[in-house]
């Protein structure tokens, strides 16, 4: 009886195969996306492959381009908040805060925002960071076949969305922050609900880590895949979890502290290998650090250390109280001018950046003295991160694009603007 190798290969040994003759290996072009589940429907990659191996990949974003900058140039400073919600729609609060801080910098209000507003901003920003990382980790795990963590983490995300809905009025597109403060105060009974959810979220994290960290399939797909060296991360302008996974200790909250972050205690997790698995570990650790940050803020709010107004009292920036707007002519005119003309921001330009869910989220605003920005540029971290994708994926298999792309955590709205 012929042995198995002869039956399968038609020869005695695979090494005998004359690959040049029997297996033609012309390069092939394959389109991946935009209608591909792992491409989020917004990115197309034109792959040149040698068999399964990627020789070149031309990443083409832009399918979700909605002219953020052009629209912003025609909107008043306050009207832009809903547009910023739609940039990174997984952590809209951080966009709100980043944009508000940019306008405040031009107005000279940096550091003059009421403390309660700063505390609320940090609380909602960190909750948003948690939802961002939960989505990223959950979706990536699902794309690699682990469906259960996806359900656990998305359930946890939904708890947080519900709480953010209670505070802002909208589940996803909050438009909660305002120039000079925040729009609403924390509702009654919100803090105990949040603290109770944090217990459950920690539990969900423990379960997910138990399922993923030692999982052979997960590790095989993630470890050693999509490696970016520290030097490359710097040259490519990487920030956020991707840069930290490469060992680059850069976090805007620590390196260029803003708001009340200098008063809070938290650690910045830093990886060593710069591969997808380290990116995953950094994100998990950041969730825990964000929980820690929110808890410190909540303790301070409950202690009464953050009592006071939630909006600056500068009449050029803040809307008058509704009772005044309805009852006095001066306040009504002021209200009208704010809504129709917008906040008058002095001519000048400033770049402001915060630590977004994905990295350095910056707004470069040029004001010309009117109520509308002359230019409102958004430095979106996803766009910068995605630009490395074709370099990272070089030499990997087509299947590796899924974890690489998942861990870059490209958010279409932010990348395409």
């Amino acid at each position: 009886m012929a042995d198995l190798k002869t039956l399968v290969l038609g020869r005695k040994d695979a090494a005998d195969l004359d690959r040049e003759q029997e297996l033609p290996h012309e390069l092939m072009t394959v389109n991946m996306g935009p209608s591909h589940p792992a491409m989020h429907g917004t990115v197309r990659i034109v792959l040149t492959v040698d068999g399964e191996r990627i020789v070149a990949g031309d990443v083409q974003p832009g399918y979700l381009h909605r002219c953020f900058e052009k629209e912003a140039e025609y909107a008043t400073y306050t009207q832009i908040f809903p547009y910023t919600d739609r940039l990174n729609y997984v952590s809209p609060m951080i966009n709100n805060v980043g944009y508000a801080m940019a306008v405040e910098k031009l107005l000279g209000l940096t550091g003059k925002i009421p403390r309660r507003a700063e505390y609320i901003r940090v609380i909602v920003s960190e909750i948003s960071r948690i939802t961002d990382h939960l989505t990223c980790v959950g979706a990536s795990a699902m794309e690699l076949g682990a469906f259960t963590p996806f359900l656990y983490l998305l359930k946890a995300r939904e708890w947080l969305y519900t709480l953010l809905e209670e505070i802002s009025g909208a589940r996803l597109t909050h438009s909660y922050v305002r120039v000079g403060g925040v729009s609403k105060d924390i509702p009654d009974g919100w803090i105990p609900k949040l603290t109770a959810r944090f217990v459950e979220i920690r539990h969900a994290l423990v379960e997910c880590e138990a399922m993923l960290n030692g999982n052979k399939i997960f590790r095989d797909r993630m470890a050693g895949v999509g490696v970016l060296s520290k030097a490359d991360a710097i040259r490519w302008g990487q920030t956020g979890p991707i840069a930290r996974a490469c060992g680059l200790d850069y976090d805007v909250r620590k390196d260029h502290p803003y708001s009340i972050y200098p008063e809070l205690e938290f650690d910045v997790p830093v990886g060593t290998t710069g591969d997808c698995f380290d990116r995953y570990l950094v994100r998990i650790e950041e969730i825990k650090q964000s929980l820690r940050l929110v808890e410190q803020c909540l303790a301070e709010v409950e202690r009464g250390g953050a009592d006071g107004p939630i909006m600056t009292d500068d009449p050029w920036v803040a809307l008058p109280p509704k009772t005044d707007a309805y009852n006095t002519i001066e306040s009504m005119i002021r209200h009208f001018k704010h809504i129709v003309d917008g906040i008058r921001v002095p001519a000048g330009e400033a770049y402001t950046f915060v630590e977004g869910g994905n990295g350095e989220l910056g707004f470069f605003i040029v004001g010309d003295g009117t109520g509308r920005p002359y230019k409102c540029y958004c430095r979106s971290p996803s766009f910068v991160h995605l630009s490395t994708a074709s370099t990272i994926m070089h030499g990997h298999l087509i299947a590796d694009i899924v974890p690489i792309f998942g861990m870059i955590n490209m958010i279409g709205g932010e990348c395409d603007k």
Binding site: Q60, P61, G62, H65, C67, E69, K70, E71, E73, Y74, K105, L106, G108, I234, R235, W236, G237, Q238, L248, Y250, D255, H256, R344, P346, A347, G348, E349, A350, Y351, F353, E360, G362, F364, V366, D368, G369, T370, Y374, K375, Y377, R379, F383, V384, L386, S387, T391, D416, K417
Partner: protein
Amino acid sequence: MAQSVLDALKAKFGDAIERTESSHGDETAVVKAAKLVEIATFLRDDPKLAFDAPVFCTAIDLVHWQPVGPVLPGARPAYDGVSPRFEVCYQLRSTTFKRRIRLKIFVTEAKPTVASLTPLWPGFNWQERETFDMYGIRFEGHPDLRRIYLYEEFIGYPLRKDYPKEKRQPLVRRTDLVGDH
């Protein structure tokens, strides 16, 4: 914060630094286009400066620039129709010294060309493509200067101030729209 960087630049390059300004905590140096690559290389390689990371690249179209209200000293004057139309901005970051600097280059409408910094920082690759896509600034020496958000057939540069906001350019060819750009 980074005033020392501006001083170092002025000491080293003199006339090539047309103007420097510090406002809102941001340091900006307006540099001559011809010297851009040389200055950028110096900023990157000098160990005392070490601007090793790119932050962003964009442009400002000044054609409708008519500031109102109080103007800070040193702020750019209203556009006169003669001076260069575009400002190209590069923001750099030093991971070592945790500081930033913005380089600006003026380019004219007739020749909107500036040297690419992608060979120095590959992170500028897509950013320069975006600036080209939106403003039509051409980056000489860029390895792959294509549109990035819009499609190849798109006509015009949408973030230029004279591109109407309501203008539509459907990619699907419709006989009633052919020739109407």
